[in-house]
Amino acid sequence: MSHDSHHAPVACKTELAPERSDLGLIRPDRATGWIDWLTTVDHKKIGILYGAFAMFYFLVGGVEALAIRTQLARPDNDFVTARMYNQLFTMHGTTMIFLGVMPLSAAFFNFLVPLQIGARDVAFPRLNAFSLWTFVFGAFVLNASWFFEFAHLAGWFNSFEWHKALVYTDFAPANGWFSYAPLSGTFGQNGQALRFTGVGTDFWIIGIQVLGIASLAASFNFICTIINMRAKGMTMMRLPVFTWMTLVTAVLIILAFPAITVALIELMFDRTFGANFFNPSAGGQPVLWQHLFWIFGHPEVYILVLPAMGIVSEVLPTFSGKSLFGYPIIVFSGAVIGFLGFAVWSHHMFTTGLGPVPTAAFSLLTMAIAVPTGVKIFNWLGTIWGGRIRFTPPMVLALGFIWMFMCGGFSGVMHSAAPADSQQQDSYFVIAHFHYVLLGGVLLGLMAGLYFWFPKIFGRMPNAPIAYIASGLVILGFNVAFGPMHYLGLAGQPRRTHTYHAGNGWEQWNYVATIGAYILGIGVALAFVNLVWTAFRGKKCSNDPWDGRTLEWSLPSPVPEYNFAQAPIVATRDAFFEDKHGSKRIGSEPDGGEAGVHMPSQSWMPLVASAGFLFIGFGMPMMAMGIPHAGWMVIGGLGVLFLGIWLWALEGPGGYMLKTPVNRDAPVPTETAAH
């Protein structure tokens, strides 16, 4: 077998002799610089790349949000056209959810999970790289629709024949982030497939499809890693809560994404091949789209929020100097949220007329799901109660999370009452609710995570005063922007409407909300500038600046590529904290030694396979546009995907041995403690 021909152990991978894979190609193991980043299989580098792309798309989505708020600042405004406005709110929602929050959560999964469970990497390092690049290409396809839109507005397409055949010409998606049929679908008999919307919808369909593949592949990988690669002694009930929430999130993803995948396939068949799944003129049921979308869409809400809850559950104990209050209850309530998350989807559809029994059932279940969430809130309060609280930027953001998320939760419970929900449906009240959950909850949680783990990721400490100012601006701006929307919604302002007339009593609060949005924008931008500056130029800090509790803090910062020179043996929850202050030491396994640590080989193949999605991603919308021979581009893309996977399978895993410093100087305890 190929991996018997390992090199002699080296101290640094650049010393490796060139090794050929089973295919005879030279492996990019020794590469540095951009080739190293493109071919990396190191979960930490993949995590950093996820984070960088996510922060970029946060800014893109933020600019879209500010354009929306600028348009709404004044009644009868014409800052953007109605069509552009539709595209802006659609892309804002899609970008923030699929390209901002999910990848930023994935960045934390990647960087932290192996470190927290005492592993050297994820179960499938090359599959992990495949997830990353598939996400990158999917995100690119989705956003490339903007370039088509701008080219169209500039008149570049006017001379093309196929362009004249297009009646509806939204080039960027314009259906809202859930793309309800029949607006997103077709009408007309016998495969006429007349469309309400332009090619933007096709970009959206294929973009979300590709992003779904990335999420699925990553989730398989992470469930496998968490279940199968725990260090000795790391039982399931000793896992750090963040890792637990990652596990629940990944299970949600693998069970929820198939529903949207099928829905997207059906919609794609409608639009591209004239099928009738959601075509009302041929008997298709548009409400089926709503069901399929929300069977995915509601678990998706928990997919977004559970990682942030996990982060907060790490930050609060650290800065309260106490262990997490009611660890098993936190874990079980997380699992219950995941389970119930599949049973509440129809509360998004109370106004479709489900009938009294389903409406009552979904109402009840929606109220029920507030219970495990409330349990978590009380556990967090119990954690800080009587603790020795240290105020740091992550702690401030985590405390903000509790407050703001709770506000979002309260308005959420209001929605669970179906009669009240019928009044709030499609109003700004809903906008206010889910922004309190997603911004006040998820964004604050993720920012807390960034400030908390940045010193571990880069070995540099973010500037605290700037961090406080940024956090303050975010919390202030966010409340000023979204607080008034509760009122606006109850006063009747509809969502997804590009303007409103004066005289409805909405002018004042819309103006205030826009001011809040700009404060929020400045706050987020300041935080990101602070973080990026820290990554490159920040002040160096110690390996354990926060007096951390979990295994990742026991490692040097930045973490070496092999993570643990010696695999740890864990005897308790909060193993590192106990090791420092308690009686139970972290043991270590007697491996490594002169043979070194086995490292997986780097590979081009995940990138090659993912690149197939680029061709598929551009080919499908072009096919729907009716561009001749575009189908060949899709087939070519499938070919590239297949070729990449095939070469990936045949190149062999390879691998090399890396010497660890433990062999030379080792102040690491070698005796294992209590079992």
């Binding site: 077998m1 991996h3 496998c224 279940i227 690669m229 069970l255 529903a259 068949f269 799944f277 095939w646």
Partner: protein
């Protein structure tokens, strides 16, 4: 070809190999995938029990279209392919590479017969007037069974590659047997899904005097 070459030295926390675990996870996800497709089909069958209208404007019932003998035959073939797959896995565990090759060739052969039947069926139905475009029934039927067919085709390709790979001598030992077993898991799953589709899409149409959905022709139609 495991990414975790060190698996020999470091056993997993559960004792289940990573590759086998990830295949089970994938299958869990695929259950939801087919579950959604099958639900879509049944839902529309209930809503539009009357079948479809062909190009000449004739009302057609689904039982007129089905050739239940042919589909039963292809179902039987697919079931038998699962039997051969089990033999191939067992042979690989015993290190009998020649027996493995024989059996896997049988699986591939049967898989291709199944796909051939499906191609015949699709062509036949198309000429009879059921298209993906002219009715909801056409859309759900072709997309559901076509997706299953794609799964079978991927399985056949996988096994063909495994067959040829076995001649390089690299498909051997514990890891080789594991790879074959995982392909087997996939193959059996696809087979089980077909049993569900065959029941839910074909057989139930013949229940009751007017078909299970209340309208339609007597089961002896044709």
């Amino acid at each position: 070809m495991s990414d975790t070459a060190a698996a020999h030295e470091a056993p997993t926390s559960t004792g289940i190999d990573h590759k086998k675990l990830i295949m089970w996870l994938f299958l869990a996800s695929d259950c939801m995938f087919f579950g959604t497709l099958i639900s879509t089909h049944l839902l529309y069958r209930k809503l539009f029990p009357a079948g479809f209208t062909d190009a000449e404007g004739h009302q057609r019932f689904i039982q007129n279209l089905f050739n239940i003998e042919l589909t039963s035959f292809s179902t039987f073939i697919l079931l038998m392919s699962s039997f051969l797959m089990a033999l191939a896995v067992s042979a690989m565990h015993k290190g009998q590479i020649k027996s493995f090759r024989r059996n896997v060739l049988g699986v591939i052969f049967f898989g291709v017969i199944f796909l051939g039947c499906q191609v015949y069926e699709f062509t036949h139905f198309y000429h009879e007037g059921l298209t993906i475009q002219n009715s909801v029934l056409g859309s759900t039927f072709y997309v559901l069974t076509g997706t299953h067919g794609t799964h079978v085709a991927i399985g056949v390709l996988w096994l063909i590659m495994m067959y040829f790979y076995s001649f390089t001598g690299k498909l051997g030992g514990h890891m080789g047997a594991l790879d074959v077993e995982i392909a087997g898991l996939y193959w059996h799953f696809v087979d089980i899904v077909w049993i569900i589709i065959f029941t839910a899409v074909y057989l139930v149409e013949y229940l009751g005097p007017n078909g299970i959905w209340g309208t339609g022709l007597p089961a002896v139609a044709k």
